[in-house]
Subunit: 444 residues, 2 copies
């Protein structure tokens, strides 16, 4: 397979093995029993938001489209499956020709979601649709968790830019996806070069304590950095004494110094002191960047401080306490035979008291109040009521196996801002609460 145009090193040529073994053994059993070609509908949804969260954010839709497109079993993979007797010969032959040929609809990336929202719907034969479960959930569960955290941080930061700096705190490729999801959720830039390379997200950087410690004096380090990177650079001022460092920084770089970064200590206090000192030195336009285990609460607590930008790492890439969503991929309808046009029957797990779900293919729409503010997530089967026309949430992403839902990443970022702004004002409170609008299931 030609991998040249797949954006390596941060993409992969095939996604087909990002799959739980049981998807393949279920396929084998269904091929044998004659049910593999039954037309089915799978839906992705969550039963609940993470505790206390007011809304979810769909992240990763674009990556799902890449994953579906690149879901192919090459010879090496088929050899592996054969060698370990994971599936039988007829199933291997079927997998060798695998290309998803069905339809996918979903909430567009950046849209908000609520408990029960059918954020993605996959239709096709059971055989072709069941195989996509694991990789679709991996992507949506990870990316949506980061996008939701990013959105809350973005609310807390207001107009001040947020820099994603979490690469070192998570798996090296999860980091790239996290940068992407953070951008959708409202971050402005990333420190991660792979994210810049793969997704064209603006990259930024400052300097580390190691650079200062490498030199014989802090002033030597500042001089080296300014000589090479210009006075618009950002100097790190907390390796030794902050006040001395700020004085050196302005002496070395001049009053046109771009920014200073504070990475430890009482950021609220230090930001005020450093701002005063910079102003006194005439460096009135020199900005202050703060970093150091920030989360949305710490960002909010700095709202009144003279801070110009926030760098966020750990808490962003770990979803600020909720590193994964609880999205599931559930069979909600299936044909009762493999005859073309066989009607779809709603199906659902119905064991006592746990993990039950609502059967049937569903639409979703967001109902607005008289002021145009969202007041309910409405989810139903059958026809969409006339009063919800134009408010439907699912869009077409894949038609007959062809990707039709690709869009620039900025479209998702813009959509998120608009969607969030359309929620009731209490959506953006940081304190714990219930989903900001209820999910309704009208009777048909």
């Amino acid at each position: 397979m030609d991998t040249a145009d797949l954006g390596l090193p941060v993409d992969v040529p095939s996604t087909a093995l990002f799959t739980d073994r049981y998807e393949l053994t279920m396929l084998q059993a269904a091929l044998r029993s004659g049910t593999a070609d039954r037309r089915v509908v799978f839906e992705v949804f969550t039963r609940r938001l993470p505790e206390g969260r007011r809304y979810g954010v769909v992240g990763g839709t674009g990556r799902v489209l890449d994953a579906v497109e690149n879901f192919r079993f090459d010879t090496g993979m088929l050899d592996f499956l054969a060698h370990h007797r994971i599936v039988d010969a007829p199933t291997l032959a079927w997998l060798a020709d695998y290309r998803f040929s069905g339809d996918i609809w979903g909430y567009p990336e950046g849209e908000v979601y609520f408990p029960g929202s059918p954020v993605m719907r996959v239709e096709g034969s059971f055989a072709e649709a069941v195989l996509l479960e694991t990789v679709i959930l991996s992507i949506l569960n990870h990316d949506s968790a980061v996008a939701a955290a990013a959105s809350r941080m973005s609310v807390a930061a207001g107009d001040r830019p947020l820099i994603e700096m979490g690469a070192r705190r998570t798996h090296e490729l999860a980091a790239v996806a996290a940068s992407r999801a953070a951008y959708v959720g409202g971050f402005a830039s990333t420190s991660d070069l792979a994210a810049g390379f793969r997704y064209n997200i603006p990259t930024v950087g400052t300097s580390a304590h190691a650079f200062t410690l490498l030199h014989d004096t802090e002033r030597d380090a500042f001089t080296a950095q300014v000589d090479s990177l210009g006075s618009a650079t950002t100097l790190l001022v907390d390796t030794f004494d902050v006040a001395e460092a700020v004085r050196s920084a302005v002496e070395v770089a001049g009053t046109e110094l771009g920014a200073v970064r504070i990475d430890s200590g009482d950021l609220l206090l230090l930001a005020h002191r450093v701002r005063q000192q910079l102003d006194d030195l005439g460096a009135k336009r020199t900005k202050i960047v703060v970093t150091s285990d920030l989360d949305e609460y710490a960002i909010a607590s700095l709202a009144a401080a003279p801070v110009d930008a926030y760098g966020v790492g750990t808490q962003l890439v770990t979803g600020s306490g909720h590193p994964t969503c609880s999205m599931v991929y559930k069979l909600v309808a299936r044909a009762n035979s493999d005859a073309p046009g066989a009607p779809l029957l709603p199906v659902a797990k119905k064991s006592m008291g746990a993990k039950s779900s609502v059967g049937g293919r569903k639409w979703a729409a967001r109902r607005l109040d008289a002021d145009g503010v969202a007041e309910a997530e409405v989810i139903g089967g059958g026809e969409v009521p006339a009063e919800l026309a134009g408010r439907e949430l699912l869009v077409e992403l894949v038609r007959g196996g062809e990707i039709v839902g690709r869009e620039p990443l900025d479209a998702a970022r813009d959509r998120h801002r608009v969607a969030r702004a359309g929620l009731p004002l209490s959506a953006t409170q940081l304190s714990r609460g219930e989903p900001v609008i209820p999910t309704e299931y009208p009777r048909n």
Copy 2:
């Protein structure tokens, strides 16, 4: 670059862009100031364990070696850096020839660690060593977090096997690394085919509710599965009524049915009921596998239940509440010139009251009491005291740029079991506590 032998799709041909932008701009400034060739020592350590944890587990060392070996800037990457003016032309030329030529020592994979333990030490020129910071931390922070959670679950599970099933709950490639780390921590197998493909971890699978719902009756689904996969398969019995499902399962598969899986409800109660029912039906050797948001506490609570294996997903891949470690990569020593043989000076960040560290290249050893049980993690500079001879923890991983520390994954898994068994008994309590042995810094 030939990617054929790199184990795609779950490896990547170059790791060089899994790097924060500032590593490259610091390199540029150091090349310009003449400090780039100073010999340096970076150490990876944590200041604390996650709250309440008694020990940490080193995970990812083997992946770090792969990452170092594959850290090369190819033409596409250099073009990207040039196009975005991330570094200047002399730096680009330097990067084009980059190969790490220094030395790396570290705690071997699977070893336990404590606050301050130098789990990895990278020595070389500043230029070559600083570039590795981000990717080394990404790998160790992620993989060690999962390995630590796996270790606790493994303690809770005792002799019963643990199956890693978390692929759908985390980034698709983080999932592969998580399977690997879980195996090191004591898990027996994984559902993730990519982890089997890449790391030869045994893969297993059962069946999903979708498979039952696809068929006209539960019995049809069981028949299909047994016909295709044999009676040793695992049937999922909680789609509708568990007791009816167990009865059908044994009728269809016979008393040689391999296992049943319960994925919802009160697992303790259901396990007892299902065991009784299986025994009454003569299926005395049919095993019971339980899954459903298990963590180490839920596993422990099932210790007295007739459960034969645990499948664990979300809580494993998210580190059971601690999805990342807080490992940092700090400059601890550097030469004062780039002359060959220039002596190394200890260096450390010394700002007031926060994030300070201990300068100087360090050794680490685990001191045992008279019974051979670990009693302290001893960390020092200079010579290792005679009484700690043979108890040193760091091993050679890379010598002059050549990887010398590769080992089979089972070696790390075995090492972890031995290392954990050498800790005081209270190490494996699940309740919150302090690190089970103190870290000591003897005066030299």
